[in-house]
């Protein structure tokens, strides 16, 4: 089996603790996404799994084997970098086959494996080009190809799509999901983009300041966020989080309601508000409302709505979709 287990790993740079006593179990064949804001330690955690950063404490197990002190190349992992990290002076073929040539694989076998990876990734026509003659998406695929030929137990992705434009990113997202389905290997994927996390993951790990906030299936995280932080991070547009008197009136320290779970009406409702701004996205529209004593509220509504800026509206949260959190978000 090629699962992955982190046991109480921690990482500190001098006095700064980046990862604090983190434990996590990843099953074989799972697509796990680490998500969190910049500086939450998600990339560091991935690099610790890869062996590019030492653990200050705890153990990393891959496929049931303790690899905490093993070299990156001995861990049975492959990594795709945000910058792709292709060797600029080598052709696509040599880039993909570099690991094999270092391992002194016989030439015939090496060629066969490179050709096979290239076929999976539709790179066959580009094998003799240099990376600089490729487009962003093709470079990304070469980086993935380099990972595939190593036949790793675990694939690691460090924000691999963030250098691509929006259309290509959506396409590559789909390709990666399909690749995962075809290869059926464990994949760990780091991103700060919650859309990528929601669409690709079997399991999402939400990290905040070096600590796991919540682990779960994407829809579980959406429906039942454990903390206000997860609630605010998962879902787009962001969940409305009310604090202070307005929240206490509704029976919580922090009261959360998603923009899509607020009904609006011109006649009556809980909150009386004025429309400050409207963003029309076509299929739906996002309203930014100013509510007296509550503050700003985001509401998603039908794209064909006839509301205009300055209108007076009543907003009412759907009672079954309310979220109440006990403590302040960290």
């Amino acid at each position: 089996m090629s699962g992955l287990e982190l046991k109480k790993v921690c990482k500190s740079y001098g006095a700064v603790e980046v990862i604090k006593d983190l434990s996590l179990q990843i099953e074989s064949g799972e697509f796990v996404v680490f998500v969190g804001p910049s500086g939450c330690g998600k990339s560091t955690l991935l690099r610790m799994i890869a062996g590019l950063e030492d653990c200050s404490g705890g153990t990393v197990e891959i496929g049931g084997e303790d690899v905490t002190d093993a070299e990156p190349s001995d861990r049975g992992i492959a990594m795709v970098f945000q910058s792709y990290a292709l060797y600029p002076h080598m052709s696509v073929r040599d880039n993909i086959g570099f690991g094999l040539s270092l391992a002194k694989t016989p030439k015939a076998e090496m060629n066969a494996r490179v050709e096979e990876a290239a076929k999976i990734l539709q790179l066959t026509d580009y094998l003799d080009r240099k990376p600089k003659a490729l487009s962003g998406g093709q470079r990304q695929r070469v980086a993935i190809g380099r990972a595939i030929v190593r036949n790793p137990k675990v694939f690691l992705f460090d924000e691999p799509l963030s250098n691509l434009d929006a259309a290509l990113r959506a396409k590559m997202r789909l390709e990666l999901t399909e690749l995962h389905a075809n290869l059926n290997v464990t994949m760990v994927y780091v991103t700060h983009d919650q859309v990528e996390a929601m669409t690709m993951a079997d399991k999402i790990v939400v990290l905040n300041k070096g600590v796991i906030e919540q682990v779960g299936k994407p829809m579980d995280l959406y429906n039942n966020p454990a903390t206000a932080f997860v609630a605010g991070f998962i879902g787009s547009p962001q969940m409305n989080l009310l604090e202070g008197a307005a929240a206490r009136k509704l029976g919580a320290e922090i009261y959360g309601i998603r923009p899509e779970h607020i009904d609006i009406s011109r006649e009556s409702g809980l909150w009386r508000s004025t429309v400050r701004q409207i963003e029309r996205l076509g299929n739906d529209a996002i309203l930014y409302l100013d509510v007296e004593d509550v503050g700003s509220l985001t509401v998603t509504t039908d794209g064909q709505t006839d509301v205009v800026i300055g209108d007076m509206l009543f907003a009412t949260p759907q009672p079954q979709n309310e979220h109440r959190f006990p403590t302040i978000a960290r």
């Binding site: 590019l52 190349s73 992992i77 492959a78 970098f81 945000q82 910058s83 990290a85 380099r146």
Partner: protein, 275 residues
């Protein structure tokens, strides 16, 4: 008027640099084709009779074809020194840039010291004699490597800063050992700055006069710059042959420079701009 000013400034600069660089070279070439009387006047007068070929033959044949031996020695010294410089400087630059440790500041100090502190000749000769390298070509090669290493290290280090660290890490994950990582991934990427190093250092070493003079005495160890002494003596100097010799010695570095000067500028600035 505003458009004219850069043009005028440009012309003045051209004239000034022409006077500084081209006129002396023209002077050398002019004296080299004159006969003995003509050249001893050391002026710009047109030669009464040209004897380019005769001067050339005289210079090459002088002291039993010493110039050819000198070319051979200089070439050996230059090729081996530059090869050593490129490999060592790239390695030191790489380690200094990539692996911060408590030793770095001492190494940095040593590198800067190598640039700033003038080498002491007599102790160096004493040391060379003790280890049996005095008056040997390989001793001279080591001296040239040591004297020029600092400059090369600084060039390499600045350039290596522009090579993304991700490449090192990708290679490590691919299973590259440190030496494989350096020779198969990093060194090929340093080509621009390596060309710069090769050109700058080979010109400097080929043209070196003082170091072979101190550390490489002996008739058989002569280098091209030292052959200039063949035609000078206390009471008379054969200027036409001296200048012909200068001309012959100047040509190889000049060719290198003309072909590679674009790469020199690129390599020098590549580290600086992006770094």
């Amino acid at each position: 008027m505003k458009q004219l000013r850069p043009a005028i400034l440009g012309c003045i600069t051209l004239v000034v640099f022409c006077v500084i660089f081209v006129v002396p070279f023209f002077f050398i070439a002019l004296q080299a084709v004159k006969d003995r009387q003509g050249s001893s006047l050391l002026n710009f007068s047109w030669p009464s009779e040209t004897q380019l070929w005769q001067n050339l033959v005289d210079v090459v044949q002088a002291r039993d074809y010493q110039l050819l031996l000198a070319y051979f020695n200089s070439t050996v010294i230059t090729v081996f020194s530059v090869t050593g410089l490129v490999i060592f400087a790239a390695m030191v630059g790489y380690v200094l840039q990539r692996r911060p440790s408590k030793w770095n500041k001492y190494v940095n100090f040593a590198v800067l010291a190598g640039l700033m502190i003038p080498p002491a000749v007599v102790p160096t000769i004493w040391l060379l004699q003790q280890i049996g390298l005095f008056k040997t070509i390989h001793g001279m090669i080591l001296i040239e490597i040591a004297y020029n290493l600092s400059f090369s290290i600084l060039l390499y280090r600045a350039f290596i800063a522009t090579v993304p660290r991700d490449l090192d890490e990708a290679a490590r994950i691919d299973g590259a050992k440190p030496l494989q990582l350096f020779f198969r991934v990093i060194l090929p990427l340093l080509k621009p700055v390596t060309v710069t190093n090769i050109v700058v250092q080979s010109i400097a070493i080929f043209n070196d006069f003082t170091n072979p003079l101190y550390y490489l005495p002996g008739k058989d160890n002569v280098t091209v710059q030292l052959t200039l002494y063949n035609f000078q003596s206390q009471f008379s100097t054969q200027y036409h042959l001296l200048f012909m010799n200068i001309l012959l010695v100047t040509i190889p570095p000049l060719i290198v420079f003309i072909f590679f000067n674009k790469q020199i500028v690129e390599g020098m600035t590549a580290g600086a701009v992006k770094g």
